[in-house]
């Protein structure tokens, strides 16, 4: 029966417990506040029901009461606000060295590509207890990546990356939903997140070999002729790309921006938007020449040229299976 009629969602990520705790606290606050109001109404409504000959008392109001029921709720609300904000920060601060998965959403499917190279459709395999960071973009309209059991959701937009992370804590198969209405088969844009024990995951990885994403990125890089300008030795008419990712870049207009994934992406499809100091705006746009998957591969490749930056190193071919910095050694994980 409970299988057909669940009352609480599965709790399968490191963040889910925090969300549930605040949710339960809010249930209590809401319960107490509504009980106060409903009991007061019921008591007053029976105690002071109309009796012939008895008139209502004349009462103007009460300043102390007004102040009390303005200030006390405001105090409670601020506490909830802070608690909610803390969780939101956790949700938006991916741990360094998380494994990376590139997600491309389109009407009406999810295309996922592991940095290690495995490609999946509407399904994502992850090992338990590994931090996973999703770098997501859309090929068409806005979608939203939603995994109820992980309590995470993030809209996926065309033309930019949005990012979300999670650490699964319990093996199992969980729903993946598209939560932003995206047209005809919005409700068909669903899939599974398969959380596996490390050994099973290992086996899955081995049965799905593939070149790494950064390796395919390197191929695209050479095919498109990027290397003519972006020479490794810095002698080209474009800046050398080693060590760029994750560092501040000084722009021509004096601003300095952090070279994150969105910066790399923009530099490829809209190179005129931010010109690196000391270079001329001569790079052509590659908008329309690369599809989202190729773009992701290029970004992964450029990132791999900055081994020191988080997310840079583990896309190196030599380190396919276990992300470095994953502090719980494989085989030793508890659920």
């Amino acid at each position: 029966m409970l299988n057909n009629f669940p009352l609480w969602p599965a709790r399968a990520s490191s963040i889910a417990g925090n969300v549930d705790a605040l949710f339960i606290f809010l249930l209590i606050v809401a319960g107490v506040m509504s009980l106060l109001v409903f009991v007061a109404i019921c008591v007053f409504a029976t105690k002071y029901r109309h009796r012939p000959g008895v008139n209502a008392a004349k009462i103007e109001g009460s300043l102390p009461l007004e102040i009390a029921w303005t200030v006390i709720p405001l105090g409670v609300f601020m506490a909830i606000f802070v608690w909610g904000a803390v969780i939101y920060f956790q949700e938006h601060t991916p741990p360094r060295d998380a494994a990376e998965v590139y997600v491309v959403a389109k009407q009406w499917m999810w295309k996922l590509e592991h940095a290690e190279g495995q490609r999946e459709l509407n399904e994502l395999h992850v090992p338990v207890d590994r931090d996973v960071r999703l770098i997501m973009t859309s090929q068409d309209v806005i979608h939203s990546f939603f995994v109820p059991a992980f309590r995470i959701k993030q809209d996926v937009l065309p033309g930019r990356y949005t990012v979300i992370w999670f650490r699964a804590t319990k093996p199992g198969t969980y729903h993946l939903f598209c939560a932003e209405y995206c047209g005809t088969l919005h409700s068909g844009m669903v899939g599974n997140i398969v959380v596996m024990n490390p050994a099973d995951y290992e086996a899955w990885v081995n049965s799905n070999p593939g070149g790494t994403l950064s390796a395919s990125g390197e191929k695209v890089f050479n095919e498109l002729g990027c290397a003519t300008c972006h020479r490794m030795n810095g002698q080209g008419s474009g800046p050398a790309l080693q060590g760029v990712f994750g560092k501040p870049v000084l722009l021509e207009d004096g601003r300095s921006v952090e070279a994150d994934e969105n910066y790399l992406r923009e530099s490829i499809v809209d190179p005129g938007a931010k010109i690196v100091n000391g270079y001329r705006p001569i790079m052509p746009t590659f908008q329309g020449l690369v599809n989202e998957e190729q773009l992701n591969a290029l970004v992964a490749y450029v990132k791999s040229l900055s081994p020191a930056a988080p997310g840079g190193a583990e896309t190196k071919p030599s380190e396919v299976k276990v992300a470095p910095g994953n502090n719980s050694p494989v085989g030793n994980q508890v659920q």
Partner: protein
């Protein structure tokens, strides 16, 4: 409450002053225009309700088996657009506000009677465009019409947008009319501190309509331009920003939720004061909380965008401000509750609706606290939790208030009494049906069921709660049909209403039921405070005389 049966003779009133279609279609009498609105919004309420029924029937089973996916998407889109823009936004202001505000402040009409008629014609033109849109296939963008989807869908978005655009001007003009009327047309002695809270609430509403509605009009134009001219305002491929759309949309649509709820709050203040036979507790706090809501309501829009990709810090600011705007709403609920203390409470039908309003609005408001909490919103946004939240406020709250008000002032509007027993029964059915429909959706939302899903065969475990919701919706539907039936019945068979059947305070009760064309036989002068129920009920004091 004992109804004062007065001797009613056939007097000239706004209904029988003139006959014929022309006399209605060219009227500038605010009361007749209110009735024109009443008929038109009821029409749209039934269209929207019909769509809702089909939506609930589709969700009875996990598979998408009743209608096609595209049809389902059009159903919830047209349901939302019709209910929001053609029923709820005009409901209380354009019907009850139109009818009552001049009378409540002792005026003969609104400040601009012809503009009032123009508002109705704009509404009708907008409504006709909406019908045209629906008959030629409808739009499938959702009522929120997010780009880029709305810019590329091949359904009738431009038609729907145009309909909302035109109806928006009707809303702006009504707001303008009310603001000027409240400033300029108050009777001698009707000071701001003597205004009924219904008028304060409508004043606040009108300000939002005036300042907010132009923004949605511009937004619609921009999307239409994007569709036809590919300007690249929102399209990232052309350098545009799809989030800009969401900011513009919610800059109007968050305040718009207050356009829908504030007037209902005004109704509830009148009803509770009357049936508790007391002045509203903390009058000035209730009045100013309406203004506070109108002002703060403009500062919280991005709480609809916490997962949309806005910056961490702007999310913080908008979350905090959302909590700030929840305070004045809470203050109102506490003051209504305190009004009951030491009252002399009657359980007439309008009061039952008011109790229902407080209960449902409280649940709706409290679940708003969940949504404003950033960490929780990430999980429940765009799920059935949000659907339940806003229906508790807009249907549980606003529609409950509208029905309560329709009952309370029906004798004044029609000159007839409705059958009290049926009215109480309907209030009960609506309350029960409503909770059965929407409470399960909170659970569904926390479980993770996304909104706007046509087919949920991937997660059949959601079926039980969906069946409960559909069952509730049928009960709710009956609850809404009942008043429609007995109001119509009362027009013919109802007892004639006395001028003041509830012994209520307020100028509108000091004239005939139905009122004469210019509302009062002689110009009123106000010498008493609002809600002077102590004086009205005091055995030795005669009712304060009207007129000089």
């Amino acid at each position: 409450m004992s109804t004062v049966k007065a001797q009613v003779t056939e007097r000239t009133n706004y209904l029988n002053a003139d006959y014929g279609v022309r006399s209605w279609l060219l009227t500038t009498d605010h009361k007749r225009i209110a009735l024109l609105y009443l008929i038109s919004i009821t029409f749209f309420f039934f269209i929207g309700g019909f769509y809702a029924l089909l939506i609930r029937l589709e969700l009875l089973t996990p598979a998408g088996d009743l209608v096609q996916a595209d049809t389902y998407n059009k159903l919830f889109t047209m349901h939302g657009m019709v209910m929001v823009f053609f029923f709820l936004i005009p409901s209380i202001p354009a019907v009850l506000g139109n009818f009552l505000i001049p009378m409540m402040i002792g005026a003969k009409d609104l400040a601009f009677p012809r503009i009032n008629l123009l508002s109705w014609y704009l509404y009708i033109i907008g409504g006709a465009l909406m019908c045209h849109c629906m008959l030629t296939g409808g739009a499938d963008t959702g009522w929120t019409f997010y780009v880029p989807f709305s810019a590329i869908t091949n359904t009738k978005f431009v038609e729907a947008g145009l309909a909302i655009f035109v109806a928006g001007f009707s809303s702006i003009l009504t707001g303008l009319n009310f603001v000027v009327t409240v400033h300029r047309m108050r009777a001698p002695g009707m000071t701001w501190s003597r205004l009924p809270l219904f008028v304060w609430a409508h004043y606040a509403t009108s300000i939002i309509q005036l300042l907010g509605t132009p923004v949605i009009a511009i937004t619609i134009l921009l999307v239409a331009a994007e569709r036809t001219l590919h300007l690249g305002i929102f399209d990232p491929k052309l350098g545009g920003d799809p989030l800009l759309f969401q900011h513009l949309f919610w800059f109007y649509s968050h305040p718009a939720v207050y356009i829908m709820i504030l007037p209902a709050m005004g109704v509830i203040s009148e009803v509770i004061a009357c049936y508790a036979r007391k002045r509203i507790f903390g009058y000035s706090f209730v009045a100013f909380s309406s203004i506070a809501i109108a002002v703060f309501g403009f500062l919280v829009w991005a709480h609809h965008m916490f997962v949309a990709g806005i910056s961490l810090y702007s999310a913080l600011v908008f979350s905090m401000l959302s909590y700030a705007v929840a305070v004045p709403s809470a203050v109102k609920v506490f003051n209504w509750t305190a009004t009951l203390y030491k009252g002399s409470i009657h359980y007439d039908a309008p009061m039952l609706y008011a109790f229902g309003f407080i209960g449902l609005f409280t649940v709706g408001g409290l679940t708003g606290l969940f949504l404003a909490a950033l960490g929780i919103d990430v999980h429940v946004t765009d799920t059935y939790f949000v659907v339940a939240h806003f229906h508790y406020i807009m249907v549980g709250g606003a529609v409950m208030g509208y029905l309560g008000g329709m009952h309370f002032w029906w004798p004044k509007i029609s000159g007839k009494l409705y059958p009290e027993g049926w009215a109480k029964l309907a209030a009960l059915i609506v309350f029960v049906g409503f909770n059965l429909t929407f409470f399960p959706q909170f659970i569904l939302g926390y479980l993770g069921m996304p909104r706007r899903y046509w087919d949920y065969s991937h997660m059949p475990e959601f079926q039980v709660l969906n069946v409960a919701s559909t069952a509730g919706a049928t009960i709710l539907g009956i609850g809404y049909l009942l008043p429609m039936v007995y109001f119509l019945w009362s027009l013919r068979y109802g007892d004639p209403a006395p001028d003041n059947p509830w012994n209520a305070a307020g100028l509108e009760w000091k004239t005939a039921s139905p009122p004469p064309t210019f509302n009062f036989d002689s110009d009123p002068v106000v010498t008493w405070e609002a809600y002077n129920y102590d004086e009205i009920d005091a055995p030795h004091i005669q009712e304060a005389p009207v007129g000089r």
